[in-house]
């Protein structure tokens, strides 16, 4: 019951929008419009309803006990708070997303190390005018001529010349 004013965190939509990758932009826009609609609806409703002027009704209504009875019942009535079913699901989603995000970051880091390795290989290469054919074949294995499959010069199919 105390969660009525459960903290509405201020969301920085601009920073959020920056982090969205382009292929998920439409989903982000849908979310934003939904959120905006909900908050607009919330803002349009006043926080508590207008108070009922009991004295006026007491003087106006002829039936003697009716107004008092209404007043008693009305103040005794407690509007039940709507039950929150979704927050648990959202939290579960969040933990799952965190897990998969960590896995993705790990994979991404592995990729980065691989790329950096290859980049270093290219950076530390000897310049081309000091290379021999053997060196070239080492660095770019695809330039190696297959002398077993094509034993006669030019060691590659004529169409590839």
């Amino acid at each position: 019951m105390a969660g009525r004013r459960a903290a509405l965190k201020a969301i920085d939509w601009v920073a959020f929008a920056e982090r969205v990758p382009p292929n998920q932009r439409s989903m982000f826009n849908a979310l934003k419009t939904r959120s905006d609609a909900i908050s607009a609806k919330l803002a349009s409703l006043p926080e508590s309803p207008a108070a009922i002027d009991w004295s006026y009704y007491r003087s106006a209504v002829a039936k003697p006990g009716m107004v008092d009875e209404f007043e008693k019942k009305f103040s005794a009535l407690k509007v039940p708070e709507p039950v929150d079913t979704q927050t648990a699901k959202i939290n579960a989603q969040e933990t799952e997303a965190n897990k998969s995000a960590l896995a993705y970051i790990e994979a991404s880091k592995a990729r980065i190390t691989k790329y950096e390795e290859e980049l270093d290989k290219f950076k530390n290469m000897i310049p081309f005018d000091q290379m021999t054919i053997e060196d070239l074949n080492e660095i770019f294995p695809e330039t190696k001529l297959d002398k077993v499959k094509y034993p006669y010069w030019p060691h590659k199919p004529i169409a590839d010349l």
Binding site: R4, A6, A7, L8, K9, I11, D12, A15, F16, R19, V20, P21, L31, R34, S35, I38, S39, K41, L42, L45, S48, P49, I52, Y57, A60, V61, A62, K63, M66, V67, F74, L77, V79, P80, E81, P82, D84, Q86, T87, I90, Q93, E94, A97, A101, Y104, I105, S108, K109, R111, I112, Y115, E116, E118, L119, F122, F128, D129, Q130, I133, F140
Partner: protein, 252 residues
């Protein structure tokens, strides 16, 4: 005979492709130790300096301190005269043939040597440029890929914002619902009370109207025909008097 031709032209042509198996017996003799020095130092671009095509410059430098500039030339002249006079080298028909062929070959190499060398260089340049392009492209792609990965990691860090937004939405919906319920309750109670009041007003009005109608009807029915005639005659006389007074007023 032909070996001399090969020897001459090999010295004339400028450094051909260092890439390739051509200069196999150039200073790769650095493999003197059992370990291979890697990277192997580059091959020299130009051959050793020669004068007149086949005499190394070192020979001239060797004789310079003793005999000056003309020393090697005197040596050469003396050598040729010795070979001819002692008939160690015999002049025959091959001599003339050799001289002619030599002249032609020297002329051809001097004329076309540089352009052929440039052409060979250009072929090599193209090969190198192609591979260099591949290398550059690969490097830029890798750098770009690394950038992209880093950016994606940064993006992933913002994932908590999504869930915050969702939780906010849920909270807002709950709050809205609660307020709506409150409003509904109040409005319903008001409506019921207002209904009672409206009902009361309606009753009162109906009673009033009914009473008025009833009073009117009874008054009208109580006016007898005799009274009606008397009242009409009185009205007429009143009107006449009124008309006379009005006429008098108008004349004045």
């Amino acid at each position: 005979m032909l070996s001399r031709a090969v020897f001459l032209s090999a010295n004339f042509l400028k450094g051909s492709a260092p890439l390739g198996a051509g200069l196999v017996h150039a200073p790769r003799s650095l493999h003197t130790s059992s370990q291979s020095l890697a990277p192997v130092p580059p091959l020299p671009e130009k051959p050793g300096k020669v004068r007149h095509g086949f005499v190394p410059e070192e020979f001239f430098q060797l004789l310079y301190p003793k005999t000056g500039v003309t020393g090697p030339y005197m040596f050469g002249t003396g050598l040729i005269i010795y070979l001819l006079s002692k008939e160690i080298y015999v002049i025959n028909q091959e001599t003339l043939a050799g001289i002619s062929i030599g002249a032609i070959i020297i002329y051809a190499v001097k004329k076309f040597g540089p352009s052929v060398a440039a052409f060979a260089d250009q072929l090599n340049e193209e090969k190198v440029a192609k591979v260099q392009e591949v290398k550059d492209l690969a490097m830029t792609n890798l750098a770009q890929a690394i950038e992209n990965e880093k950016k994606e990691q940064w993006r992933v860090e913002g994932r908590s914002m999504l869930f915050d937004a969702k939780r906010n939405n849920v909270a807002m919906l709950l709050e809205t619902n609660y307020r709506e319920r409150q409003h509904m309750v109040t409005n319903e109670v008001k409506r019921r009370l207002d209904y009672q009041i409206a009902l009361q007003h309606l009753n009162r009005r109906l009673e009033q109207e009914h009473m008025i109608n009833w009073v009117e009807k009874s008054v009208i029915s109580s006016i007898t025909p005799q009274q009606e005639k008397e009242s009409i005659a009185k009205c007429i006389t009143d009107l006449k008097a009124l008309a006379k007074s009005t006429q008098a007023k108008a004349v004045i």
